[in-house]
Amino acid sequence: MSAKKPKITIKNLSKYFDDLVVLDDISFDIYDGEFLCVVGPTGCGKTTFCNVVTRLLPSTKGSVTVGAEAIDFKKHNVSFIFQEPSCLPWRTVWDNVKIGLEIKGYPEPEIRERVQNVLEMTGLTPFKDFFPNQISAGMKQRVAIARAFVTEPDMLLMDEPFGQLDTSTRFSIENSLVRLWEKTKQTVIFVTHNLEEAVYLSERILVLTQKPTKIKSEVGVQHLLHPRDIADPEFVRIRRQVTDLVRWW
């Protein structure tokens, strides 16, 4: 399970666009190896949140630190799985997955070993020489997941990665994700609108408010063992709790 020491600390994070306050003084810790979900009502600025936490967008105030240092792409190992399909179309599955290791200058034999392993774990080995235009949407997101995990990141952020998938594909890929996480124990921040998905995947759920977005509440889910059963009474109870916290409809 997760260690007590916080791995990533987010402190007083705020983001303004001129006069519009999108993120308002958000502070929380993430523990090493934890699977944290962030949920909020529709329109709560979750994409801004993702972009600011990973530093693709600068924050107006506040800090994101890994250990004691401010987060920096060049120093730290960050992976981001976008909501949009993000496979580079001119690269095969293999070349897509290895790009993070390539950028960070890993030696070729190590790249080969790591990529092979992660392709095994995500069931993509038979497709390693295929181009993205030859595989389905679900497989493309698996490639994105493989690419994100293979660098063993300090922080892995996922922004509603399964939102555009079919429900049955979604269940299958969620299970793959849980199995992959259990094996590798990466620190994951998973942002989603889908409350059932949040309860299915995470150890802890942060609930955000509408804009100006703050943290409303926190719900612990680590006592539920994987694989989880969506009909289990405790699962249902937690899902209801989260739904009531988020509910705006």
């Binding site: 976008f82 399909p85 580079l88 950028i103 235009n133 595989i135 389905s136």
Partner: protein
């Protein structure tokens, strides 16, 4: 034979049919007109054979004309790519430079190559006259397409590399360039087509007696329509072939761009 092959065969047959229909209509029309200005296809064929085997009134064969023109085109085209692609990339990556120089660039872009002829005659001699005019035709399509292709790079792809800590140089080399290559290829193909269409204008002012454009002009003076039409058709057919070959190469090189097949 499956449906797709059937459709392909049908397409080819219909194309041949269209050509035959045009030839028949043309023959009928020229028989009706009985004018030296509308030679029937049979006469055009005779003229073609004549030019190919015996050459034109100066004895220069059709093949030599075609070869001379192709050399000129490729020279001008190569120069257009050599300048247009790097300049387009640079201005695409640093758009401020483009935005601040548009007052100079855009008016020049809209001057047709033919309008440059007097200047070309005065300032240049020989081969460079041809190359310059052809370069003008090809440069702007290549330059503008390259420039616009940079703006169409998918920001998600750039972010994928950025998050892993890639340097700007890496992003340009490994993300921007592969992204824009298909668009640049299209720009090049369009540029080549336009350059080829400038060949007549270029050969009007160049000094030499060979070239398909020059061929047309020679026979224009003699009002020999058969040979003129042969020249026109040769230009059209070669342009068409160059375009088709380019497309085939594009499809092969950029096969990652083809239609999605969901497993």
């Amino acid at each position: 034979m499956n449906d797709k092959q059937k459709e392909q065969v049908k397409t080819v047959l219909y194309n041949i049919l269209s050509l035959i229909v045009v030839a028949v209509l043309w023959t009928l029309f020229s028989a009706w007109q009985q004018s030296p200005f509308f030679p029937p296809p049979a006469d055009i064929w005779k003229a073609f054979v004549g030019l190919a085997t015996q050459g034109d009134i100066e004895g220069i064969g059709l093949a030599r004309h075609i070869w001379a023109s192709l050399i000129r085109i490729f020279a001008g085209f190569a120069a257009a790519c050599a300048l247009g692609i790097p300049l387009g990339l640079a201005m695409g990556l640093w758009p401020k430079i483009y935005n601040r120089t548009r007052a100079v660039l855009e008016p020049i872009r809209f001057i047709p190559p033919i309008a440059w002829i007097p200047m070309a005659i005065v300032l240049l001699v020989g081969f460079s006259r041809y190359a310059f005019l052809i370069w003008l035709g090809a440069f702007f399509p290549i330059f503008i397409t390259t420039l616009l292709s940079v703006t169409r790079v998918n920001p998600v792809h750039v972010n994928v590399a950025k998050v892993f800590g890639a340097s700007r140089s890496y992003i340009i080399r490994k993300i921007v360039i592969p992204s824009v290559l298909p668009d640049i290829a299209t720009g090049m193909r369009v540029g080549l087509g336009i350059a080829w269409m400038c060949i007549v204008a270029a050969e009007m002012i160049g000094g030499e007696m060979i070239g398909v454009g020059r061929l047309i002009l020679k026979y224009a003076e003699l009002i020999r329509m058969g040979e003129i039409i042969v020249g026109m058709l040769v230009i059209g057919i070669i342009g068409f072939l160059m375009n088709e070959i380019f497309i085939v190469v594009e499809k092969r090189v950029f096969r990652w761009r083809s239609e999605v097949s969901i497993d």
